[in-house]
Symmetry: C2
Subunit: 348 residues, 2 copies
């Protein structure tokens, strides 16, 4: 694959980000939405934090206390047999996930050259509602006119739903409620109306049967969504055979809507691939990658908080090259330049 | 509980319904939506059918063949070790449900007195789209003006989503696409706009965490839905501690929107209870049943295709009495008259 990883990768690391409060540490700054505003490139970072602990026998759980609209830290004894603490990402009780060990919020980073970023010291979207009590994750940003629409995972004990927020300047944000109910994530709104309607890709996770696959929906107003249709499913084997979902916001190209999507295999190795959707009817898949466009190979992609992961939430078209920003190993941000022709060569 | 089961119960039995084709038999006619049109009471029945088999060693699977838009029957050897046929309702492979053993469609039954019904010989909504390949189930009917809106479970290998259809006469129906993506069911649209918006109750089933609980959503047009909010959750123990979902279409009462909902315990015993929602803000729960309104006690409720189930999809207000229609044991239709005062007495 003829692609060029930025020599400055990772362009943002966990230690570059100030924690939101002194008793927290930053585990990762990754899976950022991407926007262009004026001369600036914006990364809307997912910042995952955990409480600092000085005791190896305790597990500290950060979460929003809904009653008081404040983030609190609860202490659990690691030896308590009623809980399973073996996965560092979450706590299990009676076979169900009952807590997360980290809490994510969204943070703005700005750059003039798209490589060196100034990271703001404070969050811009922080958990403050009951359905965000376990965090705000994995934003995608779509510019329509002078408004930027942000879709994000709204995580709570009720499941993972899809929140919608909007901003004109990445300083003031307005929440518009949950646009899709649990369990759903990986939502990207198309950057223009198509035949009079807005469209979005989404990725429901049904419980009884069905798989984590890609769907498409329509809206008259970006707030209310319907006419849900199945778009694209898992492959029989290979890099996108276990789960998949949209990645970067779709980019208009001369061959169709270019969708950079993620896929994982049964070993939780996450790669990025591409699909082309019909420009006039985005529910129609023209082609998709038979091999990944980007695989975890660099050290910062293979090793980290959750290794062997490349996961993009946004990309920019620079002439005939895609500049794809992506989270690596659920910990850092990186970028890669990929000629469009190289992406097209992966397509079936 | 001072309630009166109809002495003619079950008012519709499986054997009252003609199969849709000669090689099928009717397993059940149950979980019917309810409507009033002119002088008639309409039951929009869920009719579950299975292929007739004369061989004990084979399992026959009915499903829509998407490529040819026709229902086909596939034969499996009951001794094939790659499948688990132990549950009579579905087939499991590698721990996942991969087929259903029955296929449901919707059928109209009409009555002048609400007790004796004429059942039409042919389906009115039959699986014909890819996302209905495993059947159409559990309709609810909401009348708004002279239009009847039908929400139903659209079942396929992709999961259980929520289909929307409309009719003016219960003779001609128009599908309007999937209004909610998988996994979701038990959707009832409120019968009038509230402060300028349509509302619906729904019941997502998240996979990673969260439970089968009741949510509420808004719409400008009945087709597109948003501002999803959590409404009401499982109780700690008791009749609605394992799963729950809306039942009958909400009925305006002087105390609030009356919602008859189903709950089940960990032993899969399904009861009906009630909740009151604020008339001006239906996202606000005023009260809910601490004990069931109706429990499976009669023989036709306790014994049947799937026993110990009462499950309502529609009810009518007759002066100060609720006439609730309900599926019993996933096999037959029954009705019960319950004074409003008796329902109010169950409320917390």
């Amino acid at each position: 694959m003829n692609l060029i990883r930025c020599t400055e990768n990772p362009v943002i690391r966990a230690e570059d980000v100030a924690p939101s409060r002194p008793d927290f540490r930053v585990l990762g700054a990754f899976n950022a939405g991407v926007a262009q505003i004026g001369e600036d490139i914006i990364l809307l970072l997912r910042v995952a934090e955990a409480p600092v602990s000085d005791c190896a026998d305790e597990v500290l759980i950060p979460r929003l206390d809904e009653a008081n609209s404040a983030v609190i830290v609860e202490r659990y004894d690691k030896n308590d047999p009623s809980y399973d603490f073996s996965d560092s990402r979450f706590v299990v009780r009676d076979g169900r996930v009952v807590m997360l060990t980290s809490l994510s919020h969204l943070r703005v980073a700005r750059s003039k050259d798209g490589i060196y970023f100034d990271i703001e010291p404070q969050p811009v979207l922080f958990p403050e509602q009951a359905l965000e009590a376990w965090g705000i994750e994995d934003p995608r940003v779509t510019q329509i006119g002078d408004m930027y629409y942000i879709t994000y995972s709204s995580v709570s004990a009720r499941g993972v739903g899809v929140g919608l927020a909007e901003t004109r300047d990445f300083r003031t944000f307005v929440r518009r409620g949950l646009m899709l109910a649990p369990e759903n994530k990986d939502v990207m709104i198309f950057p223009e109306k198509i035949n009079g309607k807005f469209y979005a890709l989404h990725r429901p996770v049904p419980k009884s049967f069905g798989a984590p696959e890609m769907w498409i929906a329509e809206s008259p107003d970006l707030m209310h969504w319907g006419n849900h249709r199945f778009l694209m499913g898992l492959s029989e084997e290979g890099w996108d055979s276990a789960r998949m979902g949209g990645g970067a916001v779709p980019i208009r190209s001369d061959r169709g809507w270019l969708v950079l999507y993620h896929g994982a295999d049964s070993k939780h190795r996450y790669c990025m691939g591409a699909a082309l959707l019909d420009l006039e009817n985005p529910a129609k898949v023209i082609a998709r990658s038979r091999v990944p466009v980007l695989e975890p190979e660099a050290a910062y992609e293979v090793n980290g908080f959750f290794g062997k992961v490349v996961f993009s939430c946004g990309a920019i078209l620079l002439d005939q090259t895609i500049r794809m920003y992506y989270g690596a190993a659920d910990e850092v941000m990186a970028l890669v330049d990929i000629p469009l022709e190289e992406i097209y060569r992966t397509l079936l």
